[in-house]
Structure formats: structure tokens, C-alpha cells
């Protein structure tokens, strides 16, 4: 397996606080790597560094062998790193289909195109990609309703759909089941497994629900106070004393 994304001694400091402390993370092609850790461990900071929402203090990030630290967020997406947000980050007043269309246009046309006088209907490949995406997340029948009117679970699925329509080779999923009912959670977990198998997607998953993490992950990285304290298969991580220390604060069981 070859590495699709590597971080190289990545450091991010906010004032005196080191949120990311010399992190060397490697994600291999085709795997599902989960990033776990207690609140404030620096998971979001790490994700934001990869998506270029934040500027690193030191270190390097390489995607498919090339440094991406000089890119802007939309350029990173165009390279092939997609992100689904923790909240249902959709376009509420647009129809479900238009939501997916936007991502499909971005994927087919790149970050910008000078085509303001061309009718949208003249891009059948965009239309096809939109419909495929909606099919994949099971929202094809709801394509004409306003996205804002979907139930919460469907909004989250649409959110994942938007991320998928841009056809990423690496998908960053920030707590995809946060706020979902047990049924919705189950459906989302099924979706994640499907994506990985059928689309051969590499996924970096940030998740609090340990049951999900241990069932879907190929590998797990544990973050605490900005640095990686353990890495390995679910079984290896589960038995690691440093992990138990971090989560339980050294309480004797």
C-alpha cells in the first residue's frame, strides 16, 4: 500500500498553545483511518490544516507525493481531497438536485469557468454525475425539494453527497453521525462502508462513537494534546495503556 497523504512533523501553534505537535500521520490508499481522541485533542485543527483552512506553523503536508501547503482550500479540493462537515453544511434554499449540481460543476469544470452565457442543460456529464451522486446517497427521489426541508438525517446524507460529487480520492469525514438517530447512524455507517468498497475511496474519519470507529476502521490513530500517542489496528489500539490513560485520565478500573 502506498501513502496517499502524509504529514511531516506538522506543528500548529495558537499563541502559546500547541494544538498540533509534530504530527506524522500517514494515510494509505484505500484504507479507512479513524482519528480519535478526547475533546481538545487537536482533531479538528489537524483536519483544518489538511484542508488549508489553517496555515501551519511548521512542517509539511504531502498529498499524492506533492506538498499542498501553498494551495488554497478550493485548490486542495480540486486535487482530490473532499470534506464532509460536522454540521449539515448544505445550500438550504436550493433544491436537492441543485446542491449536488454545484459539486458536479466544480468537479467537471474546475474551480472557475467563463461560461455565464451557456445554459446548464448543455452539460449532460454534469447531469449524469449529479444523478449518480444522489443515487449513491439515496436521495434521488427527493431531488426537486428544497434541501432545507429535508429531515436532519437526509441533510447529512446530502452533505456527504456534496462531498462525493466532487469525486475525491481522499474523503475527510468530520463526525458524520453527530446528532443522528440510531437508525440514521446505522444507515450512515452502511453508506461509509459501501463508499469504501464500491468507490475505492480512502477515508479519514473523525468520530466520537467508539462502536462505529472500532467496527469500520482499518487503522486508528489516537491524538492527545496535539500529538499522536498510539496508532494501529482497532485491536492494537484498544489494548494500548496510553490510550486508556488519555481517555480515562489514569483512573484504575
Amino acid at each position: 500500500m502506498s501513502a496517499i497523504l502524509e504529514t511531516d512533523d506538522l506543528v500548529k501553534e495558537f499563541g502559546g498553545l500547541t494544538a498540533t505537535d509534530h504530527v506524522n500521520l500517514t494515510i494509505n490508499e484505500g484504507e479507512l483511518l479513524s482519528l480519535i481522541g478526547p475533546n481538545g485533542a487537536g482533531k479538528s485543527t489537524l483536519i483544518n490544516l489538511i484542508t488549508r483552512m489553517l496555515e501551519e506553523t511548521e512542517g509539511d503536508i504531502r498529498f499524492e507525493g506533492e506538498s499542498i501547503t501553498s494551495l488554497t482550500p478550493h485548490e486542495v479540493v480540486q486535487r482530490g481531497i473532499g470534506k464532509s462537515f460536522q454540521t449539515a453544511s448544505i445550500f438550504p434554499e436550493l433544491s436537492v438536485k441543485e446542491n449536488a449540481d454545484i459539486a458536479a460543476f466544480a468537479a467537471e469544470h474546475g474551480s472557475f469557468k467563463f461560461n455565464f452565457l451557456t445554459h446548464r442543460d448543455s452539460y449532460p456529464e454534469v447531469e449524469q454525475r449529479t444523478l449518480d451522486t444522489l443515487e449513491a446517497v439515496g436521495l434521488r427521489d427527493q431531488k426537486d425539494i428544497d434541501a432545507g426541508e429535508l429531515p436532519y438525517g437526509d441533510k447529512r446524507r446530502l452533505e456527504i453527497g456534496i462531498a462525493l460529487a466532487s469525486e475525491p480520492s481522499l474523503l475527510l469525514m468530520d463526525e458524520p453521525t453527530a446528532g443522528m438517530s440510531p437508525e440514521e447512524t446505522e444507515a450512515t455507517v452502511d453508506l461509509i462502508e459501501e463508499l469504501q468498497e464500491e468507490m475505492n475511496l480512502t477515508i479519514l474519519l473523525v468520530e466520537h462513537d467508539m462502536e462505529i470507529v472500532f467496527s469500520v476502521s482499518d487503522r486508528i490513530s489516537v491524538l492527545n494534546r496535539g500529538s499522536i500517542i498510539a496508532e494501529g489496528t482497532p485491536d492494537e489500539v484498544q489494548g494500548d495503556p496510553a490510550v486508556q490513560e488519555a481517555y480515562l485520565g489514569g483512573v484504575e478500573l
Binding site: E93, G110, N115, D141
Partner: protein, 374 residues
Amino acid sequence: MSDEVGTPEAEAEPETIDESPSLYERWQAIQGDEKTVAAITILGVALAPFLLVTLPEMLGFPRSYSWYHSLVTLTLIWGIFALGYDLILGFTGLLSFGHAMFWGVAAYSAGIFSANVTGSPIAMVLVGTLMAVLLAWLIGWISLRRGGIYFAILTLAFGQMIYYIFLSPLGNITGGENGFNGVEVGKLLGMVELGGAVPFVPPMFVDSWMYVFVGAAMVAAVVVGYRILNSPYGIVLRAIRENEQRAEFVGLDVWRYKLMSFILSGAFAGVAGSLYVIQRSYVPIENTLYWTVSGDIVVITVLGGVGSLFGPVFGAGLYMYVANIVSGIPVIGDFWHMILGIVFIGIIVLMPNGIWGRVDWVRDRVADALGGDN
């Protein structure tokens, strides 16, 4: 996900389909078409002078309360301005408070060009629009680095800067506070005077070539506006309005799309500003570059309904009526700004989506009555 009634699967079952399309469906099928939109606009533009000027006169409506031909022309000019402004305010969600500069710089450019090079109305529009586009490019490039209130203040500041530059340092070219007097509007295509009557068309419909010229620009503006809204830009701009961060994270260069939207709206303002000078044969600084013009265009667009294609044109009509007719009525005319304010509040309260929002609402009710499903 569950087996409750009303799941998508259940709805997707083929139901008994009514074979003959309802009136509503037939209307639906044609109304989305560009040619239909152009035809409706042509019809509207052609009938406006008759409906607003001639008909009230025939019905004995008092002269001092009714429209006159050049006011209909002026409404169309402001309508073009507002249509473009809605691209940035309604569709992209950016409040620009400096659009007077595009309208005004186009007006001065067209005017000065006519005095020094040629008075061809078409050339004047092209030059004015080009200058507005170049200015919008520059101002947008700087101002769009900030959003929200900062963007509004930056555009306002640049607008005022240009106002003062034209007022004083460039005073010997622009005429300073007296405005530019040397406008020389020539013949259209070298053949017809804009002020002259149109042969074979009774003046009760169209009084002059000027109206034909402005009307043609209005139709072109609507068609181009319609095209933009139905191009990928139509949804990309709305996506930026709704959730800018998400738009960035599907891989769109949000900043460049915003800049394009700003430039396009500057181009409409440029066309309108140039036409304004052609109609008036004079460039008054207080009606072109002064900041109140930036305020007027916001009011007009909101009155008509932000986020709609035709709405702003109706907003322009209402505004022009109050500013030019109501203001001339004895006694209450002195309070026309206050009357406009009351109208504005009334519309905001009663029709939150502007005049066009109410038209849409009525249309939906009619559609229901005609058997439409939604």
C-alpha cells in the same frame, strides 16, 4: 429508511396519469424558454407607454398624476441598472454600496467620448460600459477581499473617492459641480435622430427612437440576465450566497465567481449609465456619482424583490413614479422622500419578497386553480 406511509418508494409508484396536460403544465413547458422570456419582455416594453401614458389620458386621469413618455424611458434605464444590481445583491448576497460609481463613470465616459470622438449612441454605450467593467474589475478585486459590512463600506468609500476625483481634480474635464455640459448625441447608426418619431408606429405606443433604443437594450439586458441565471453561474452564485464556505469546499474559486458577479453587475450599470446620458444629453454629477444614487439602487432593487429577474424593473417603476410624479404634486410633493419611505416600509412589511414576490404568490395561486401540482 422506515416503512411508514409516504416514503419515497411509495410515492414513486406510477399513479394514474392524466393524459391531457393541464393549462398549467402547458404554461410551465413554455415559460422556461428563453424565447418566451424575450417575447414577454418585448411585449411589455412595447405596451408600457400605452398602458402608462396613453390609456390613463384617454380615461381622463389627471395629467399631473400620470406618467409621461420620457419617464417610461427613464424607468427602463433604471430597470437595467437594477437588474444588474440584483445579480450582486439578490443572487450573490453581497451588499454593494458603491454602484453609483459604475453608473456614473459610464455616464461621464460616454458623455466625454461623445464630445471628443463620436456621438454615435451605440459607441457611447460601448465606451461607457467598457469603462464601468474595467472599474468594476479593479474595485471588485480590492473590495471583495472583505465580506459583509466591510465590503459595503469599502465600496461606499471607493464610490465617494471617485465622486471627489470627478468633482475637483478632474474638474476641468468633467465640469466639476456643474456637471458635464458638452454631450453631443449623434444619430443612431448615422441615420435617425433619437428624438425623432418612429415611422408607421403611432405615438400613442412609441413616441421616439430613443424609446426603441432603450427598449432594445432592456430586452437584451433581460435575455442576458436570464442566460446568466440559467448558466452554471446561476446556481454557483446562489450557492455562494447560501453557504460560502461549502462552495469553497466543493472546489469552487468563490472569490473569482464573486468578482465575475461584481463585474457583470458593473456592466449592466455601465449600459444603464450610458443610456441615461444619451437620454439627458447632460451629465449631472449629483444624479450620477453622488452616493445617494448607490442608495437609490438598493431601494429600487429591494422594492421590486431581490433575487428575481423582473422584480427590480418594477421597483424602478414605483421609485420613478414617486420621485418624479408624486414629488410634483402640490403640498404633499415636498414630502416625497417621506412618502417613498412609507411605501418602502409598507412593501417590506406586507411583501417581504418585494413586488415580484407578490406576483409570484399570485401566480402560484392561479397555477393551483388551473390544476398544477405544486
